[in-house]
Symmetry: C2
Subunit: 283 residues, 2 copies
């Protein structure tokens, strides 16, 4: 029988955070405190929770967080003004605009306004393009987390067939791009894909990024497939049907405790990276 | 027996150019002559030929071309200076830096310097990112040509499985992105892909973008597959083995006379688009 590996995201996240501690101390000793600005618009309770978690994660590492909460009725212009102020603020090293924003706002226009050097959440088209062409500095945090987990567990990507289920701008598309750059053969699937189970069955690596609870079934998988589940649906349920996929997979991320905690750690890492770049400009 | 269609690029190119003629006349009547600047560095004879072809195609439509030829010994800094001058020149609407440049030059750095609004050849990472996220203005010309040919011949992409062989920044990657945005399921293959024939065999649509003469064989194809060959190797040979692929395919581009002429037409179209945008700023 194959050895079965649970890809424990908390282990990976702790490893990343351990590596950041000393860097934060060093930065502070030179007069710079890394600072992540989080922008929350409106009253979505899940979004409020996410922003709070990110702020708390910053605090535990000694990273400042600037929490900006705008009302439900904010206009695109007002949001862009806020982002521009943060772009101009030399004490802010990263900007996170929490998705989703209220429907009257042009979210894409707001994302695009974030300065490339502060786009630590990897939402701008420019940052995406750089990532896809292989020289991006801050890829989207969830795709970066997925790659980090594979690196931590020595999962080979070269020549492997990765099937990505989902094509969102901050998850399916960039994780496809990162895997392609790591020499995987990549198939990107979505709601119009025909015969999805037959495609998933060919995958050495399955990335679930579809946003539907327990969507991917164990009997779709090739025996021994590696499964990374970026889904996080109400009730702490991932995009894969865990029990049946666990049976077939050789390695699988749990939900919770898989991709989620690593995503937050990547956000912290990018913020520290950005602060170090700022310091390098002074020296 | 299936009807077999030769996807005639000259027909598509002529259709595009017919549509541009009146637009060029209109622009000129308002005092603007669309202008494409071509930058050729060094003495590569193929590159010189390509640049000349593009200049001639401009001339036939009444589009100005500004041909800049820099010596083989040009540095990255000198090339960037030239590009910046063209960025600043209000009479220039598009900039094409002919690939490849001599090896001492950082080609990517030079591409990145081109203003987004003059990047009519779709080489910048920012333009690539916008294209991949679905709101790009000037996608790379060869990928745009491939999509245009499919549109002209009413080839459905939604739900179809497209297999792209190649992953270059101006061909394999952007054509994968465009097909994904047109609701195809997309598999991107490359030199590390294992069992390529088995993947190609699943394709409803095959995009050959690998740069190896007669690389893709007819017996790899599913009967009735649609084959678009972006290859153009010495001796006018494409990336697909034409005779054997012709037998299996339901539709196929010839080489020459397939993707090539449409690519040049897309470059002209983007230059005219850019000139019209410039005019709109004045009005």
């Amino acid at each position: 029988m194959l050895e079965k590996i649970i890809l424990d995201g908390n282990l990976v996240a702790n490893d990343i955070k351990e590596g950041l501690k000393e860097r934060v101390v060093q930065l502070k000793s030179q007069g710079i405190t890394p600072c992540l600005a989080t922008v929350l618009v409106g009253n979505d309770p899940s979004s409020a929770t996410y922003v709070k978690m990110k702020g708390n994660a910053c605090a535990r590492l000694g990273i400042d967080s600037r929490r900006i909460h705008l009302p439900e009725t904010t206009t695109t212009e007002e949001l862009i003004k806020t982002i521009n102020d943060l772009n101009d603020d030399e004490t802010v090293h990263g900007i996170l605009l929490q998705h989703p924003v209220p429907s009257q706002i042009d979210e894409r226009a707001a994302f695009e306004e974030i300065s490339l050097d502060k786009d630590v959440d990897g939402v701008t088209s420019w940052g995406y393009g750089q990532t896809a062409l292989g020289f991006g500095v801050y890829p989207s945090c969830t795709p970066a987390a997925i790659l980090k987990i594979m690196e931590y567990y020595n999962i080979e990507t070269k020549g492997k067939h990765a099937v990505v289920v989902g094509r969102s701008p901050i998850l399916g598309k960039p994780v496809s791009a990162l895997l392609l750059n790591k020499n995987a053969t990549v198939t990107t699937c979505h709601s119009y894909t025909e015969n999805l189970p037959k495609l998933v069955e060919q995958a050495d690596i399955v990335i679930a990024a579809v946003g539907k609870p327990s969507f991917i079934k164990g009997d779709w998988l090739k025996t021994g497939a590696i499964v990374l589940d970026a889904g996080y649906n109400p009730g702490n349920i991932g995009d894969v049907e865990y029990e049946s996929c666990f049976e077939k997979a050789s390695a699988i991320t749990p939900v919770p405790g898989g991709v989620g905690p690593v995503t937050i750690s990547m956000l912290l890492k990018h913020t520290v990276d950005s602060a170090e770049k700022k310091l390098a400009q002074f020296v």
